[in-house]
Amino acid sequence: MGDPNSPPSLGDFDKRLRAARKAAEPPEAPVTRQRELGLAYRVAIEMVVGLAVGAGIGWVLDGWLGTRPFLMVAMLFMGFAAGMMNAYRTSRRIADEAEARDRKMRDGDAGRDG
């Protein structure tokens, strides 16, 4: 300890490095509008694509089976439902991620205090 020539222990260095890193880190990357917009876009595209894919599949099936317009209408609704489900899953995942981030931040704060 007293010997200035002896290198500081690695554990001590690690601790100091972590503290310095935390201090240099911004409190939490602010959720910018751009990011929010991107997330909204991600959800919206699922719904639109669901509708389009449903209608497309229905249209092709109609051509095969000669049941024009019925299957397309039915598949349009199915596609809408599927798109909604994908959108719901996406938004739930985004919410989970946000929650995990919040928890991590809180834990980080607690760690800094302790």
């Binding site: 595209i45 699922e46 694509v49 669901g50 389009a52 449903g54 798109g83 994908n86 995942r93």
Partner: protein, 245 residues
């Protein structure tokens, strides 16, 4: 370079070396050139920067290591250790999309990812690959993925087709997202750049400032969309490997 100043001109495919194989037009196009450049740059970056294998990485080696760790962590977090095997594919996908997007930011260059053929081909490979992995790991149990749990059985007649449909939507939404972002962004850039010329020395400064801001934003989007494409690939992989939503 351009007599006609259409903002959509940048997306035009030109045949550089016309090749035709069995009636299929397989020409070497300007799009192909930029894909080759992207692959070459990624390969160069990865091999050249790692040739020293220094304990304390230099700048280039840091970039390579950062990319590696980023994707390795993404796979670990989203798929778990079962995802290790698929690292080369996911890493290649990420680097290719990222470099294609970034190459498009260079004036007069071409953005391969602004064409839905390119993005859909990648999404389709992911879709087929994930499905094959699902069947290979779980056999016919993989079909259970489409049957929601804890649902009264009459509803299954409605829910199973919806689940199947939502599974088939994935490659479309995956490819459309990347394609739409790249195309919309690049079109907007060119449109506002056109305003700069149209408004001349007096009024052109406002759109010019906007173009500068937009360029920064587009570089951000280039990273973000590469990230989104890759993380969704990881999530789909996770569904196939672990069989839950």
């Amino acid at each position: 370079m351009a007599e006609q100043h259409s903002p959509l001109e940048q997306f035009q495919i030109r045949r550089l070396v016309p090749i035709e194989i069995g009636g299929v037009d397989a020409s070497f196009t300007n799009s192909a050139v930029f894909m080759v450049i992207a692959v070459a740059l990624v390969t160069l970056l990865m091999t050249y920067s790692m040739r020293g294998r220094a304990m304390v990485p230099g700048r280039l080696q840091s970039i390579a290591e950062l990319g590696y760790e980023f994707i390795a962590n993404m796979l670990q977090e989203n798929v778990g250790s079962a995802g290790r095997k698929y690292f080369p594919f996911v890493f290649t996908l990420f680097m290719f999309i990222l470099f294609s997007n970034l190459l498009g930011m260079i004036p007069y260059s071409f953005t391969p990812t602004s064409h839905i053929v390119v993005t859909f081909a990648m999404a389709f490979v992911v879709f087929v690959g994930v499905t094959v992995i699902g069947f290979a790991r779980h056999g016919l149990h993989f079909l259970g993925y489409f049957v929601p749990k804890d649902v009264p059985w009459p509803l299954l007649f409605l829910l199973v087709p919806i689940e199947v449909l939502s599974y088939f939507i994935r490659p479309v939404s995956l490819s459309l997202r990347l394609f739409a972002n790249m195309m919309a962004g690049h079109t907007m850039l060119k449109v506002f750049a056109g305003f700069v010329v149209a408004l001349g020395v007096l009024g052109g400064w406002a759109p010019l400032a906007f173009v500068v801001a937009l360029t920064g934003l587009e570089i951000g989007i280039a990273f973000l969309q590469a990230y989104v494409f890759t993380i969704l690939t990881c999530l789909y992989l996770n569904d196939a490997v672990h069989l839950h939503h």
